[in-house]
């Protein structure tokens, strides 16, 4: 297993280096350092102000390595910084990017953790329920509703959720966020609810298929024949044996609990990392965007390794061999 993990991590390292290089090419093709500087200081700024801004933000170096500046250029600087996880300062407002990540991580976590837990429990329970009542009107309704739920864009859920629940029914604030314990639940309930409902359709369909595949297996029939109750059959035998595909979905989502939900955070004004990414896109804040994309890809790679380890834990038949 250790050899496998080492090999897997080495692959991951190459992917990370590829991501770093790709990010550099992508961002510096879209905008030159002059463009970035002008965007930051405004159209009225004098050339010397733009030049000083470039010096303050490290954009005064040549972009590519060349004669006389083999190590003193933006590419080398970028790679070194990314490997050291030194993301520098925001192009838009000069705030240290790690500081913004530290601030934004918690609102994101408060939103995504309950969304993840409730969403997972709700979709597993609903899928077990419809698998239990398979080929009845309930099964057909739930599948039809799931397809309908999948077809609606998240943005629409947000707009209608805010209008119906926030404006018409007045149950929760329309938008916003405050970590004050007196009000935090008010702010989080609606986005969590919308996050859960908007993701329920696809999860229910996926888990239902997984459970139905298991439910027809011989061991299930044997369990019933031995007199196991339906509850025990569903929750002990069927659910346990369906854990590998469930785990694949669950573990891959865990790293993104910290990076937040782009649309929900932007739509509800929750100052998490998703909103920070959204804002960096709209403000052409390339340094923040580079950091967010890099962190996202890093977490994705970590998630993949964790998934592999998770397999061995839920299914003793799986071994990770180099």
């Amino acid at each position: 297993m250790l050899a496998y993990l080492v090999r897997r991590s080495a692959y991951g390292l190459f992917v990370v280096l590829g991501v770093i290089f790709f990010l550099f090419v992508l961002f510096f093709t879209v905008a030159s350092p002059d463009d970035i500087a002008r965007q930051a200081v405004g159209p009225k700024a004098m050339p010397e102000v733009i030049q000083q801004w470039k010096v303050n933000h490290g954009y005064h170096l040549p972009v590519w390595p060349g004669a006389g500046h083999l190590s003193d250029n933006l590419l080398v600087d970028h790679v070194q910084r990314m490997i050291a996880m030194d993301f520098g300062k925001s192009d838009a407002d000069g705030v240290v990017i790690w500081e913004r990540i530290r601030q934004g991580m918690w609102p994101s976590f408060f939103l995504t953790l309950p969304m993840f837990v409730i969403g997972m429990v709700a979709s597993i329970l609903t899928s077990l329920f419809v698998a239990f009542f398979r080929e009845t009107y309930l099964d057909r309704w739930v599948v039809a509703l799931s397809v309908l739920a999948m077809s609606i864009p998240t943005l629409l859920y947000i707009i209608f959720g805010q209008f119906i629940v926030g404006t018409l029914l007045r149950w929760f604030p329309v938008s916003g966020f405050d970590a004050d314990p007196a009000v935090i639940l008010r702010f989080l309930t609606l986005p969590v609810l919308i996050g859960v409902v908007s993701g329920l359709g696809s999860s229910v369909r996926f888990f239902r298929t997984v459970f139905l595949e298991e439910i027809h297996r011989d061991y299930v029939r044997t369990a019933r024949a031995k007199g196991a109750s339906e509850m025990r059959v569903m929750f002990y035998h069927v659910l346990r044996n369906s854990l590998v595909p469930i785990l694949t979905q669950v573990v891959m989502e865990i790293p993104f609990l910290f990076t937040g939900s782009l649309l929900l955070e932007a739509g509800f004004g929750i100052p998490g990392l998703g909103a920070a990414t959204f804002e960096a896109i709209s403000a052409n804040d390339f340094s923040t965007l580079r950091a967010m994309v890099f962190l996202g890809s890093l977490m994705f790679i970590v998630g993949q390794v964790l998934t592999d380890i998770g397999y061995t834990l839920v299914d003793p038949r799986i071994r990770l061999d180099a």
Binding site: E99, G166, R170, F172, S175, A179
Partner: protein
């Protein structure tokens, strides 16, 4: 339990970064302290004092409210009655409990209920400030904070128009003293006994503690000089260097500083030591603690307007030396040490900013100098008269909440959770009917405040272009006049801006000296027939270019690639097509547009200009030869060069607002009328919707003005209105639950029947 309570206190004064701290409340302090509370890494009594209303120092489970809200389910369950044993009954009870609890906790109030009766002004903000450092702050997003915390020597009268400067931290408005060498000198006399807010940074100069237990210091003239030196500092890259370069010795000081910083030993000195070592300059000097002397190399009366902007606020050297972004302390771009009517007490610019009344504000100690202004006799001030002579500010705290989307922000305003709001385009028809408030809004007790902003939007021609420019002589002038004549701004404003804007006939907007409401530019009243005749005269009959026998091809550059932008700009293009001209819309992103501007490869473009200060000079200079892009890289992108206009501008710019200045402006407008470098479009209008409980609101148009200090509000009336407007409606929840149960029950019954 692990307790996290730092989310909106992470920028509390003196506190620094996020801390996740487990343990018991109140046990310990300092770096990484124990205790189940949020504490700053840098222990700072000011932090704990300043955000007393907030959650700082509370634990998540320690307050009764938190217990009720966070663990409400458990408390409700205890009071629910005897324990039931059937699993179905238990499940039903649990669902009922959950629903009851959720209903108890249901409220759309985004603020803690305890704040309902407090005199707090709630406002939304869309864009977070880029910087709070007054030396480099320039955008309107920054002024949300900077205009309230940074006091200035002068300020604008709240109501009088044209805009009028009045003294603020200065005792009087200084008069210009002409020097023999052509320079001009101003001497500001400061009020005595003005203090910076208490802050740990003053321990650097050994100051003693003030009433709040933090060291503090008096404001002196040297603090104003220090701020002007900061503007000159090349490292800070201030955007207003060009203006202040008129101060005698300013540019030389800047150069000296830059050169000496190449020596690493010099660069390691504290910032005020560097400035001192670089030597004073004559342009800004402190004669004594209460006298500031400003010397200009040439007459520039507009300099006084700059002393009404946060860029010239006093900044203590201690703050610049202490808040450097190192050692866990925030930089001055994220932190303030100020003198204004409000102080920044919580700063999480992604979500929430709080400004609290400054108990040490000099205006409270010099009440006779700084009360609500006497507005008696001015037009439309009936509602302000009750406040005249009262001590400012009226509101105890200002809470800004981030709202990135306009629709949720407006919904919260309608629910009473914001006291003031702009009007989004989507909501405009609901709010405004025939120029006034709709019946629905009137019934809610709202009022509408309108004002024209000191800015102008225009379409401009590049006068260095071979077709539309000066090289083509009279022919291009007639073409520009014809193109100007077909632009129907009223229709544009009706279609795209809900009528918000005043059609412009000259570059000078209302509220400024030189604006004449009676003036009608003959080329800015749509007249298609006359335009066609002018085209014939120009040699383009029916818009046909005789050299190609095709419609004359022109390019209209815009820095907007959105679909909405295309529709808007096509409106102008279609108007020119009525003349038979083939105008092509070239939409690019801003960087590409700017690159075209740099190269001079454009024919027609559209832009806008918002005044830095309300003086006609700030608009007319945009069309002088000195400011031509092809000459100096200046903002005159039309490259309009007219010797007569330049001569009139030189006579006009330094004059007082007298009859001669009005005559000169009139003569300049006549040149622009004839030459048509610009097609003036409109002056933007600012609409503010205000709830009935908020008093004394006037829109000013200049973002650097602190209007909030004049506002007053009736918190009790607001609480009553909020309660009446926000009663939750629960029946749909029961309906959904019933539908769910009814849909499941038949399947369960069938299953049980089959099993039995």
């Amino acid at each position: 339990m692990g307790i996290i309570n730092t989310l909106h206190c992470c920028r509390v004064k003196g506190a620094t970064w996020l801390a996740v701290i487990p343990g018991e409340p109140g046990a310990g302090s300092g770096e990484g302290p124990p205790g189940g509370i949020c504490r700053p890494w840098v222990s700072n009594p000011r932090a704990l004092r300043k955000d007393a209303h907030g959650p700082l120092g509370e634990t998540w489970g320690s307050s009764p409210r938190a217990t009720k809200q966070v663990f409400g389910f458990r408390l409700a369950r205890d009071s629910f009655g005897p324990v039931v044993t059937s699993p179905w009954a238990r499940a039903a009870k649990a669902v009922a409990v959950l629903l009851c609890c959720s209903q108890i906790g249901c409220s759309n109030n985004p603020y803690p209920d305890a704040h309902d009766q407090q005199k707090v002004l709630y406002l939304p903000f869309a864009t977070p400030p880029k910087t709070l450092d007054p030396a480099i702050s320039y955008g309107t997003a920054d002024t949300v904070v900077t205009n309230k915390v940074f006091d200035t020597l002068l300020e604008y009268h709240y109501v009088k128009r044209p805009y009028e400067l009045v003294p603020s931290m200065a005792r009087t408005i200084p008069s210009a003293q002409r020097l023999q060498d052509g320079g001009v000198r101003y001497r500001f006399e400061l009020h005595p006994d003005m203090w910076f807010e208490g802050d740990p940074c003053f321990s650097l100069s050994g100051q003693s503690a003030g009433p709040d237990g933090l060291p503090r210091r008096r404001v002196t003239a040297a603090d104003f000089v220090f701020e002007i030196q900061r503007v000159a500092d090349p490292l800070l890259a201030s955007q207003v260097v060009e203006t202040f370069a008129r101060l005698r010795g300013f540019s030389e000081f800047r150069k000296r500083l830059d050169e000496r910083r190449r020596d690493p030993a010099f660069a390691r000195l504290r910032v005020e030591q560097q400035y001192r070592a670089a030597g004073e300059f004559e342009g800004a000097r402190a004669l004594d603690d209460h006298t500031l002397e400003i010397t200009l190399t040439e007459a520039y009366p507009q300099i006084l307007y700059w002393f009404a902007m946060p860029v010239t606020t006093p900044v203590p050297w201690e703050a610049a030396a202490y808040y450097t972004g190192e050692n866990g302390r925030p930089p001055l771009t994220e932190y303030t040490v100020s003198t204004g009517p409000y102080v920044l007490t919580s700063y999480d610019k992604q979500a929430r900013m709080v400004l609290s009344r400054n108990p040490q504000w000099w205006g409270l100690q010099h009440e006779r100098e700084h009360l609500f202004p006497d507005v008696t006799g001015l037009p439309e001030v009936g509602d302000l008269l009750a406040s005249v002579g009262k001590s400012l500010p009226f509101v105890d705290r200002i809470e800004y909440r981030r709202e990135q989307e306009s629709i949720p922000a407006f919904s919260k305003f309608l629910q009473g959770y914001y006291d003031m709001s702009g009007i989004s385009r989507e909501s405009f028809d609901k709010v405004v009917r025939e120029g006034g408030l709709s019946e629905e809004m009137k019934q809610k007790g709202m009022s509408l405040s309108r004002s024209v902003e000191p800015g102008v939007y225009y379409i401009a021609f590049n006068l260095e272009d071979a077709v539309v420019g000066s090289k083509a002589g009279d022919r291009s002038r007639l073409l520009r006049q014809a193109m100007s004549l077909v632009i129907d701004v009223k229709e544009y404003l009706r279609l795209f801006a809900n009528g918000r804007g005043v059609p412009a006939h000259s570059p000078i907007p209302p509220g400024l000296f030189g604006y004449d409401a009676a003036y009608k530019n003959p080329f800015r009243t749509p007249n298609l027939e006359r335009a066609r005749a002018l085209l014939v005269e120009a040699g383009y009959p029916g818009g046909i270019d005789p050299s190609t026998k095709q419609p004359l091809h022109l390019t209209f550059d815009v820095a907007d690639t959105t679909a909405e932008g295309q529709v808007r700009y096509m409106f102008w293009v279609n108007q020119w097509r009525k003349l038979g001209l083939n105008v092509e819309l070239a939409a690019t992103n801003y960087n590409q547009f700017y690159a075209k501007m740099l190269k001079g490869s454009y024919q027609i473009y559209t832009w806008g200009w918002m005044a830095d200060y309300p003086d006609p000079e700030n608009f007319m200079f945009l069309l002088t030869t000195k400011m031509a892009h092809s000459v100096s890289g200046g903002p005159n992108n039309a490259n309009f060069k007219n010797a007569e206009f330049d001569a009139l501008f030189e006579q006009m710019r330094n004059r007082d607002n007298d009859a001669e200045r009005a005559r000169l402006i009139k003569a300049m407008l006549a040149i622009l009328e004839r030459e048509r470098p610009w097609i003036e479009l409109f002056y933007p209008e600012d609409y503010a919707l205000v709830h009935g409980w908020l008093k004394n609101v006037r829109t000013v148009g200049l973002s650097t003005v602190c209007t909030a200090k004049y506002y007053d509000l009736d918190a009790a009336a607001r609480a009553r209105a909020r309660a009446a407007w926000n009663k939750p409606i629960y029946w749909p929840a029961w309906l959904v639950l019933a539908a769910l149960v009814l849909s499941i029950v038949p399947a369960v019954l069938t299953y049980r029947r089959e099993r039995s």
